[in-house]
């Protein structure tokens, strides 16, 4: 099935002026107006900022973005904070205007940059459903025909004639989402802000989006930090970096590219000069390496990946009774484990150590490793701190839930349910 493009974005750029708006901005405004409207010349400030890439007063939030989205496609926009994702969504939602370029499209577009837009605390749930629905562009008859469904979906039917300021925050969010979930646009734009809230809510959100995309054939534009959700929901994705498009294509490829690019790995370190290598008169470490057991080395480490830590060090003390310990920490410096070698006597020379961290053990997150060298099981000889840093990505099967999985470890112990025979 070859679908026509439903949105076409051409040379889209957005320039922001930084700093505060004060008397200076009035002078600049007058000057710009004079140049553009009277002298018919190019905007002087625009020129400056184009000449100097990093002009301090201006910021290109987006720069020369080109892409097309086909009808019925679920398309993700990914990137780090400040990459321009939200700016792009805002332009597509017509909330802000681009500085240059055009967007063309067909059909009705609805954007959910937040839920509950225009909710008024003093008004009842009923009034707010109408108000919010109208803000999102629904007609009165549309809301009327779906009103009961919305109320049922939100689960607040008892309180529908109570002002929403008396609602619990959960009820409030559910009602707001219920309205959003009953929109029937041709193009739905969803910002990741929707992914806040509890796991139950997230699940509902993503499930609804999945339905909209796969069952109802709507075009969806989705911004998220949740790569699993992107992989599951979207066919195609675009990676933004500092306002420019870095990569566009099949969602899994773009996601992998993004993940491998952002990982702050410090997966191996080597010291060729033994004199300056970390250590002291007793030991000097020459290399540390973390080798993920992956067929495709470009793929990120995920929770299933087995990791092998190898390190080499020079021992200068004959007959030393040595123990080496591996400390694994989370990013917030909580120690997950401390494993060590058996105490044993070693002669002078190069020693290699290995330690295998099995797959299906660590939960997703960022970790670092430190290595400790201990003499006679009591005296610390040397501590090589934070010599390896790595990220573990999430991986899930057979679930529609993409909330944060709890715990520091995520072992694969089976949990078995056995139906018991009943004697009634």
């Amino acid at each position: 099935m070859v679908n026509d493009p439903i949105i076409q974005v051409e040379n889209l750029s957005k320039l922001y002026r930084l700093g505060t708006i004060g008397t200076g901005s009035l002078r600049q405004d007058v000057q710009r107006w004079w140049y553009q409207a009277i002298l018919r010349k190019e905007d002087p400030f625009f020129k400056i900022s184009r000449d100097k890439e990093s002009s301090a007063d201006f910021l290109w939030a987006l720069r020369d973005i080109n892409f097309e989205i086909k009808e019925g496609e679920a398309f993700a926009i990914i990137g780090r904070n400040g990459a321009g994702k939200s700016t792009l969504l805002k332009i597509l939602s017509k909330v802000i205007r681009p500085t240059q370029g055009t967007v063309r499209g067909r059909g009705r577009i609805n954007s959910l940059l937040e839920i509950g837009t225009g909710f008024h605390d003093e008004l009842t749930g009923r009034e707010n459903i109408y108000l919010n629905g109208h803000f999102l562009g629904m007609t009165r008859s549309e809301i009327k025909s779906k009103f009961d469904e919305i109320v049922a979906f939100s689960g607040v039917s008892q309180f529908i004639d109570t002002p929403v300021k008396r609602y619990s925050s959960g009820m409030y969010v559910r009602l707001a989402f219920a309205v959003a979930a009953h929109l029937e646009p041709d193009i739905l734009i969803v910002d990741e802000v929707l992914a806040v809230g509890d796991a139950e809510f997230q699940k509902k959100c993503l499930g609804k989006m999945n339905d909209a995309s796969k069952k109802e054939g709507r075009t969806i534009l989705f911004v998220s930090h949740n790569m699993q959700a992107v992989n599951n929901l979207c066919q195609r994705a675009m990676l933004l970096q500092k306002g420019s498009m870095l990569k566009i294509g099949a969602a899994d490829k773009v996601v992998n590219h993004y993940l491998s690019g952002i990982q702050q790995h410090l997966l191996s370190q080597q010291w060729t000069n033994i004199e300056t290598a970390p250590g002291n008169a007793t030991v000097r470490v020459t290399s540390v390496k973390l080798i993920p057991d992956l067929e495709d080395t470009l793929r990120p480490i995920d929770i299933r990946t087995q990791l092998t830590l190898t390190f080499e060090f020079q021992n200068y003390e004959e007959g030393i009774n040595l123990v080496t310990g591996i400390h694994l920490f989370t990013q917030s410096s909580e120690c997950i484990f401390d494993v060590s070698s058996k105490p044993q006597a070693y002669s002078k020379g190069l020693i290699q150590g290995t330690c295998v961290i099995p797959g299906n053990f660590l939960n997703d997150g960022s970790y670092y490793i430190s290595i400790i060298f201990v003499k006679d099981t009591t005296t610390e000889v040397f501590y090589l701190s934070e010599c390896i840093a790595f990220d573990v990505e999430d991986y899930r099967e057979n679930t529609n839930w993409y909330g944060k999985w709890m715990g520091h470890v995520r072992p694969n112990f089976p949990v078995i349910l056995t139906p018991l025979p009943s004697f009634s």
């Binding site: 026509d4 076409q8 922001y16 002026r17 708006i21 901005s25 009035l26 805002k90 332009i91 597509l92 939602s93 017509k94 909330v95 802000i96 205007r97 681009p98 500085t99 240059q100 370029g101 055009t102 967007v103 063309r104 499209g105 067909r106 059909g107 577009i109 954007s111 940059l113 937040e114 837009t117 225009g118 008024h120 003093e122 008004l123 009034e127 109408y130 108000l131 109208h134 803000f135 999102l136 562009g137 007609t139 009165r140 002002p163």
Partner: protein, 279 residues
């Protein structure tokens, strides 16, 4: 296959998307409803405040300007004289201050969802027109009593013109000027103080607490350029049988308001779409 919509860096100077505004009419009505529902939430007297406010103002004016200062209202009863001025002035002043803060007051909303921005000032002005009608009923109440006691004379033909004209000019001027200034106010907050001051001063330059007839001719010649002056005077001619105005002045009022409204909405449309970046 052809495109149905386009987003460009600038909107054209004369981009009138009335069809879109029409499509959002339900939102407009909802917003008017919201205004009334929320304004009187948790108040004891509720919507009665719509009439209490002008009543108290009239009472004050009668005491201060009529009894203490002794400004003449000519032959007309001071209550009706002040009330007629107050309700028309209120319509202008409230529409103006309601629309001039459109961007600053609605910035969080405008940053999250698109709808024709004009809906907001339109709904604010519409609410004030409805309030005007309620206050006009109050005026009619006093008026009927005075008519009964024979202190005023009624001109049906004039009043049929005067009421719609008063609404058109005062609401139109408030809305038009509000739209035009809102785009500047969004960017340069200094204007807030200036605007409040100007509105207050303008009230004294409008014949609300005094009849135009007691103003010296030289000043009068300047005052009639205020589009509100002829309609207030004409309203008083129609209901109270006294006032100084002419057909030309009234035509000028209506025409200038239409021009101001168009300038205001063009500026609002043109600049408004880019203001979210700076509010």
């Amino acid at each position: 296959m052809r495109w149905q919509w386009e987003i460009k860096p600038e909107s054209a100077w004369f981009e009138w998307n009335w069809k879109e505004i029409w499509n959002y009419r339900h939102l407009l009505l909802r917003l008017i409803r919201r205004d009334f529902l929320t304004q009187y939430q948790q108040t004891l007297l509720g919507p009665a405040w719509v009439v209490i406010q002008p009543l108290v103002t009239v009472l004050l004016y009668v005491i201060i300007f009529d009894r203490v200062v002794g400004i003449s209202t000519n032959e007309t009863p001071p209550t009706l004289f002040y009330l007629s001025g107050i309700i028309i002035w209120n319509l202008f002043a409230e529409s103006f201050s309601g629309t001039v803060y459109t961007f600053t007051a609605n910035a969080p909303l405008f940053a999250k969802v698109y709808f024709p921005r004009l809906i907001i000032p339109f709904s604010v002005t519409a609410s004030h027109i409805i309030r005007f009608f309620i206050q006009f009923l109050l005026f009619i109440g006093f008026y009927v009593y005075n008519l009964y006691t024979g202190t005023v004379s009624f001109n049906l033909l004039y009043s049929l013109v005067a009421v719609p004209l008063a609404i058109l000019v005062s609401a139109g001027l408030g809305l038009g000027a509000g739209l035009a200034l809102s785009v500047f106010l969004a960017k340069y907050r200094d204007l807030t103080n200036l605007i409040q001051l100007t509105v207050r001063l303008l009230m004294f330059a409008t014949p609300i607490i005094y009849p135009l007839s007691i103003v010296p001719d030289k000043i009068k010649a300047i005052m009639v350029y205020n589009p509100l002056v002829p309609v207030i005077e004409f309203f008083r001619v129609a209901f109270l049988g006294e006032g100084t105005t002419s057909g030309i002045q009234l035509a000028y009022s209506a025409a200038s308001v239409i021009v101001i409204f168009f300038i205001g909405s063009i500026l609002f449309n043109k600049m408004g779409s880019k203001l979210i970046d700076v509010v």
